[in-house]
């Protein structure tokens, strides 16, 4: 009897399961989505930490949380927002968009790309699990200055886990950055010269270059700190002949370029959004591209303006003051070019555009307060006060986060294939815009009144209390705004309008393919003859129709 042919039921490959397909993916778009979602979850976590701090500071002599917890909160809030939100969400945008914008099939090293995401995720998990260490999470500030972060003054393993987490995150970022550089340099579509790549891609080029240049310096500093804590060395311990200031140099040599790592991609997003919603080309493409390069270059020469009060020699203070002021020039060039782009345009106030215009409005304030901080005698008064907290949030929230939301509203249809709701989007913008200014503007005044950073409570009533209360109320308004965004995402994920290929009548190549794009991105590509290939195409079609 002939053996009966057996018909096995069709079993899809284990890598195609709903969950496994995400875990094993090497598709730049899926990795980008993983990056963006993970960063948004950490954004919520870091935001909750901030709300707890604002609750504690709402009134004088408050006992809402303990002083040890407060110190953990601001340490982990800062570390979260920088390492787990802003830097990785830009990696997410870059992952999704750079290959699409330059007309590539994927990034240069798809598997390394997956590795960089998983390092990021595990780095974040390590950081949050450090709350369960003996004595709790790290509580020496996001910069972890020794001797406070040494084993003698930071007991328990919270600090060690913080170092481990930063090592994982740095490694992930470094791999991602190398990947973006290789992709941008080697995989551009035919005809896409350096002066025809989208400005967002320029910003990712400099973002990546800066990360490659400065992350190893952070890793060195952290490794020496770990050795001081665990191996009995004395790199930063003065009683053993070490030098505590050396760590500050390591840290800020990384830390200041990091600031531009966090804001340049936001500026890149703004440079994409403003021309599309002004119905004009970007004003001064070359000026914006070169100012991005200039900011990247000068950002490596300004680190010690974080250290004006440590008593550096006068010539160093002067050097770092001048270099910090110089960086205002290319930043100003960008702002003037964005304004010029809106000049005589047909301004369409969709939510993405509101965030972009909001960015200009608040980032300008952050830039101007930076000039006070660069002038080091003035810095001696305001450094390490709430003035710096205000300044830094005006550039990192008003800059980076406003840019991130502009990017989310702009590219959401491309990434997820559905439009976000415009009405909810506008409510989201106005609530956050109002709440943001309520929260952070009075902090300038608090700093000038003499309120230092990182104090868990204060005894002063009167103006101190009034400004703090306004600030705390503002943080609540912002939180409501963010909730509106969550509602928007949840509602439109099922009921949102389907996105067409190019809902905004945009300029760049990612709008040439479907929304969301197929795994291989493009069937065909037009030959690129300018920085606005899709507008060229629309015009050719219109001419052909006539």
């Amino acid at each position: 009897m002939a053996a009966r042919a057996t018909f096995e039921p069709y079993r899809p490959d284990w890598r195609q399961g709903r969950v496994m397909s995400w875990i094993t993916t090497t598709d730049h778009k899926r990795i980008g989505i993983l990056y963006i979602w993970t960063s948004l979850v950490f954004f919520a976590a870091g935001g909750i930490l901030a709300l707890l701090m604002r609750a504690q500071l709402a009134q004088a002599n408050e006992h809402f949380i303990t002083k040890q917890s407060y110190n953990e909160l601001f340490t982990i809030h800062g570390t979260t927002m920088i390492f787990l939100v802003v830097v990785p969400i830009f990696a997410g945008f870059a992952n999704f968009l750079v290959p699409l914008m330059i007309g590539a099939r994927d990034v240069a090293f798809p598997r390394l790309n997956a590795l960089s995401y998983w390092l990021f995720l595990f780095g974040g998990i390590v950081l949050y699990f450090s709350f369960f260490a003996k004595y709790g999470a790290s509580r020496s500030g996001w910069y972890g200055y020794p001797p406070l972060s040494d084993d003698m003054f930071s007991l328990g393993n919270g600090q060690d886990l913080w170092i481990l987490s930063l090592h994982l995150l740095s490694l992930g970022s470094l791999i991602g950055a190398v990947n973006f550089l290789a992709t941008i340099h080697n995989m551009r579509a035919p005809g896409m010269s350096w002066m025809r790549i989208p400005l967002f891609v320029w910003s990712i080029e400099i973002y990546s270059a800066l990360l490659v240049l400065v992350l190893p310096v952070l890793s060195v500093g952290l490794t020496l700190l770990l050795l001081d804590r665990q191996a009995g060395t004395h790199f930063f311990e003065p009683q053993g002949g070490g030098n505590a200031i050396l760590y500050q140099h390591f840290f800020w040599f990384f830390g200041h370029p990091e600031v531009y790592v966090m804001v340049l991609p936001a500026m890149g997003i703004i440079s994409e959004v403003i021309p599309v919603f002004s119905r004009k080309p970007i004003f001064g493409y070359k000026a914006i591209a070169f100012s991005t390069v200039a900011i990247g270059f000068y950002s490596m020469l300004v680190w010690a303006h974080h250290m004006f009060s440590v008593g550096m020699p006068n010539f160093l203070n002067v050097f770092f003051m001048l270099s910090s002021m110089v960086i205002a020039v290319p930043t100003g060039v960008k702002i003037f070019n964005w304004l010029a782009t809106t000049w005589r345009g047909n301004l369409i106030f969709d939510t993405a555009m509101l965030w972009a215009l909001g960015f200009i409005a608040v980032f300008t304030i952050g830039g101007l307060s930076g000039i006070f901080l660069a002038a080091f005698p003035v810095d001696w008064q305001v450094t390490d006060t709430y003035y710096v907290v205000a300044h830094m949030h005006y550039v990192l929230f008003g800059g980076s986060v406003f840019g991130i939301f502009a990017g989310l509203y702009y590219w959401w249809p491309k990434i997820f294939g559905r439009m976000l709701d415009e009405r909810l989007g506008k409510a989201h913008f106005w609530l956050v815009f109002l709440g943001f200014n309520l929260t952070f503007f009075p902090q300038h005044m608090l700093g000038l009144l003499g309120m230092p950073r990182r104090i868990y409570t204060y005894q002063e009533h009167g103006l101190w209390q009034a400004y703090n209360l306004i600030s705390s109320i503002g943080s609540g308004v912002m939180a409501i705004g963010i909730l509106v965004f969550v509602v928007n995402v949840v509602q439109t994920s099922r009921k949102g309008a389907r996105a067409v290929n190019d809902p905004w009548l945009a300029d760049t190549l990612e709008w040439y393919t479907t929304s969301p794009p197929p795994p291989h991105n493009f069937e065909t590509l037009p030959y690129i003859t300018s920085a606005r290939p899709i507008r060229d195409l629309r015009r050719r079609l219109a001419e052909a129709r006539v």
């Binding site: 003054f153 004003f283 008593g311 003499g450 104090i455």
Partner: protein, 326 residues
């Protein structure tokens, strides 16, 4: 045809900007719109620099935000079709040069003013008429300030200084980084172990000036406050004579009571008023010099006299006898 608003707008914006800058200056020192009202020449010159920068940044602020609002209002869509394009202007090299050059000039003017004021802020005056500056050593500890005067007197958390006399402070730390800051008397200078930083003041008004540690230094950072008491020369001299009497009390309040409570009743740290260790000089000295677990080495760098002053104070005022059964 150019709309007329284009010619009026810059003038209007300049006027508003100047008015705003003036208002800021007039308001200086009140409500947190400028650093604290200065009472020392260096702090005064820092405030001058602040006002100088405010004038330029104020004008730039008004121009940029004004242009933004103007463009938003003027070039809004107003029912135009979505695909209607504005003029396809790709840039203007001359404009780029102008808005690169003007900020450079403004920044140069700001920097020049800083250089002009800098020596008067930074350099300790030689004060020859007063016989040189009075030098006070500041040792920052977790979580108190220790001041050592030229003749060896010591005070805790309260710096006494004579009126109209140049005082140089030499700042260092005995444990972690701190930052010395009395807003009305000048800027922040970090206290870093292994380094000595310097600043100075010359108070022009008798009174009490408050400040607090400016660099995060641990769990009681918020409690690390400092007071500068400026009195007449004679009152200062009189105080110096009696400084030794209050040393033990100052040490208790500055270095022990913030954690253990003013009566030693406990707080963040354990109750110590009933702990027999308070009477055991040798072991207690070792504990406060070296620290243990979460307790910092508060007496790091103390002289034997300082330790003795604290021990005496503890025995007389804090120790209430061992708890029954404990």
């Amino acid at each position: 045809m150019p709309p007329p608003v284009r010619r009026k707008a810059p003038v209007l914006l300049l006027v508003v900007g100047a008015a705003l800058a003036l208002a800021t200056v007039a308001y200086a020192g009140n409500g947190g719109f400028a650093p604290a009202t200065p009472h020392s020449p260096n702090a005064k010159r820092i405030n001058d620099s602040y006002v100088w920068i405010s004038i330029f940044t104020g004008v730039i602020f008004v121009l940029v935000e004004g242009a933004l609002i103007l463009f938003i209002v003027k070039y809004r869509r107003r029912g135009r079709p979505r695909n209607q394009e504005g003029p396809q202007i790709h840039g203007a090299t001359r404009l780029e040069l102008i808005w690169t050059a003007i900020p450079v000039v403004i920044l140069a003017v700001i920097a020049a003013f800083i250089f002009y004021k800098l020596p008067g802020i930074q350099d300790v005056p030689s004060a020859k008429a007063e016989g040189g500056p009075l030098v006070v050593r500041v040792d920052a500890h977790q979580f108190y300030w220790q001041f050592t005067y030229p003749d060896g007197q010591i005070s805790i958390d309260e710096l006494h200084a004579p009126l109209n006399r140049t005082v140089r402070v030499d700042i260092t730390s005995q444990d972690v980084d701190h930052s010395w800051w009395i807003p009305e008397l000048g800027g922040k200078f970090d206290a870093i172990p292994g380094h000595v930083t310097h600043t100075w003041f010359k108070a022009d008004r008798a009174g009490t000036y408050r400040g607090q540690c400016g660099e995060f230094c641990g769990v009681f950072h918020a409690a690390m406050k400092a007071v500068v008491k400026v009195t007449s020369q004679s009152e200062y001299a009189a105080w110096l004579g009696t400084a030794g009497d209050t040393l033990g009390k100052g040490e208790w309040e500055g270095s022990c009571a913030k954690c253990h409570g003013l009566q030693g009743q406990g707080g963040f740290g354990p109750t110590i008023s009933n702990n027999a260790l308070l009477t055991q000089g040798r072991s207690l000295e070792e504990l406060i010099r070296q620290g243990r677990n979460e307790m910092p080495p508060v007496a790091n760098g103390w002289s034997d006299e300082q330790v003795q002053a604290l021990l005496d104070y503890l025995k007389q005022n804090i120790y209430k006898g061992a708890a029954s059964g404990g």
